[in-house]
Amino acid sequence: MNKSLLELINVVTLLGGEKRFLAPARPAVRAVDGVSLNVEEGEIFGLVGESGCGKSTLAKTVLGIVRETSGSIIVGGRDVSGVDMKQARILRNDIQYVHQDPGAALDPWWRVGHSIDEALRINNVTDARERERRIDEMLDAVGLDSSFRLRYPHELSGGQQRRVGLARILVLRPKLVILDEPTAGLDLSVQATVLRLIRDLRAELGLTYIFISHDLSVVERMCNRVAIMYLGRIAELAETQRIFSEPAHPYTRALLASSPRLDASDITKTMALEGDPPSPTSVPSGCAFRNRCPHSSEQCAAERPELEPSDRPGHIVSCHRWRSLAA
């Protein structure tokens, strides 16, 4: 087994719950609700789930820009949890985050070179010539030439903006990069070039990725292992091939059946999940998925399922009934 780069043990992140002036405090939302996982060096770890399932909050917790409420986060063998926000970010310098929409993340008044430069200046690379060299190097690595330094974000196409977004992060030489929906909103042909670049850069720079996406076609193609999240909890985690060939959790199965694949069969026969995901403010008791699950039983309402290993190494499922469903 490879060296573990990042380990989360029972991480819980509460959002909200702050006191309001002359009003009762809002109830906190358990956006991340007891997540344990580890990311190995060099892998692409997929994080999949519907909107509101907590994937972005989990990413921000790992980054240290949202504080975990309990649990530990271990980066490269060092426990970095439980410190204040500023300290947390400094300790996690090896982890960087690529924003979902680089068009919004780049300052429209700043030239691309200036935006990349800022990252270096914040991280105390004081030598101007050194900074310039690294910017050119990185622009070259993401397939843009150094003339892009003088361009403004609005002059770039969607694909080029993604490349700049990547360059701005990679210039800091991180070890773990969190990619938040790196291809959302891109056309098929541009998506292909961006995915290719992401894969090539991993080999070139020895990176590890956490790949957040809801596009299962992309995830199957790109990731080594995949975690399926539902309402702040991990429903299932396994190697990509296993998830796609033998999904154990009913939610994973529903997700796979709904996903628009090229070989999709007639949807009139496909079962659609009913209803919408419940809001994180009113998570059902026991298993969070039970209200929409076609197989739920009394046990599912009474008891919260824990992640348990399946018969295949590295495959964990949190469902009371997966054994009987698989049979």
Binding site: L188, V190, T193, L195, H214, L216, S217, P260, L262
Partner: protein, 334 residues
């Protein structure tokens, strides 16, 4: 069978500050009764302009250079605005917008917004109301509740009294589908109606659309960029590139027996099919200076002299109704 909606050789240009933009160049799409036809292409290929052209909501300076849009034998491009408003838009042709979060006005109740459609057009088969009294309103409300039931909105009776923010994205899209169906249209135009939704909700909506096409006896033109959604929903598909229709035919034929080099390259970019994720070299041309002939020729591996000098016309291939606009298949009989 005579198609309900038939767009033939539509050529549209819009004058801009930098010259005339050739947005559509010989687009041809046929929609037969009771079918769902997908129009697929990347951004900027003219999918949305096509919808606007059908609804007659193009910018004022737009020049229709050639082509017809036949709806039950009438050319929509020749109809005066009054007729379009009275008989076509919202009445005979319904529209489902892309973003359910933007399409409903947040400060009016859902009922008010749906009633507005009926106040303008009247109940299906009736003239618009001369006066809008309580009795008429009650009748309209009953009709709307029936529609909301058909689109499976929970609690259809109270839905009319609620505001858009009280619904989730999927439910809003259902409300908008009900709005499109309110006057019992013959054709529905759907502009990427599921892009803003999660996959599980998307499947619910796609299943609903498929059921409604049968139940309400409508035909649908479904604009999308997602071949996966096309595979799930559409009977036929028409692929566009830079304003030109390049290939059309039954969905499975297009996905499994792709003929046009652009369609091949595009499907080859899909993670489900890609041998090696690579993309298509080059850029989509600007409509201000489109390449002559086949607009894909600068990026095409098979380009020859004829591709530059002549725009290939859509030609039928074989017996399965697949049509392709490519010089490669000139004189090909198979």
């Amino acid at each position: 069978m005579e198609p309900v909606l038939s767009i033939r050789d539509l050529r549209i240009s819009i004058p801009t500050d930098e010259g005339s933009a050739q947005i559509l160049d010989h687009v041809s799409v046929k929609l037969e009764k009771g079918r769902i036809v997908g129009v697929v292409g990347e951004s900027g290929c003219g999918k949305s302009t096509l919808i606007r052209a059908i609804l007659g909501i193009l910018p004022n300076q737009t020049q229709i250079e050639s082509g017809v849009i036949l709806f039950n034998g009438r050319d929509l491009l020749q109809l005066p605005k009054g007729v379009l408003n009275k008989e076509i838009r919202g009445r005979a042709i319904g529209f489902i917008p892309q973003d359910p979060y933007l399409a409903l006005n947040p400060v009016f109740r859902v009922g008010t917004q749906l009633l507005e459609i009926l106040r303008a057009h009247g109940m299906p088969g009736e003239a618009p109301p001369k006066k809008f009294d309580r009795r008429t309103e009650a009748r309209y409300r009953a009709h709307l509740v029936g529609l909301l039931k058909a689109v499976q909105v929970p609690d259809p009776e109270t839905t009319l009294e609620r505001y858009p923010h009280q619904f989730s994205g999927g439910q809003r899209q259902r409300v908008l589908i009900a709005a499109a169906l309110a006057c019992r249209p013959e054709v529905i135009l759907a502009d990427e109606p599921t892009t803003a939704l999660d996959v599980t909700t998307q499947l619910q909506i796609l299943k609903l659309l498929k059921d409604l096409v049968g139940e309400f006896d409508v035909s649908m033109l479904f604009i999308t960029h997602d071949f996966g959604v096309v595979a799930q929903l559409c009977d036929e598909v028409s692929v566009m590139y830079a304003g030109q229709t390049v290939e059309s035919g039954p969905t499975r034929a297009i996905l499994d027996d792709t003929r046009h080099p652009y369609t091949q390259a595009l499907i080859g970019c899909h993670p489900d099919r890609a041998v090696d994720i690579a993309g298509i070299p080059g850029q989509v041309p600007s409509p201000l200076a489109p390449p002559p002939g086949c607009r894909f020729h600068p990026r095409c591996d098979h380009a020859m002299a004829k591709c530059i000098s002549e725009r290939p016309a859509l030609q039928a291939l074989g017996a399965n109704r697949q049509r392709v606009a490519c010089t490669l298949y000139d004189g090909a009989v198979d």
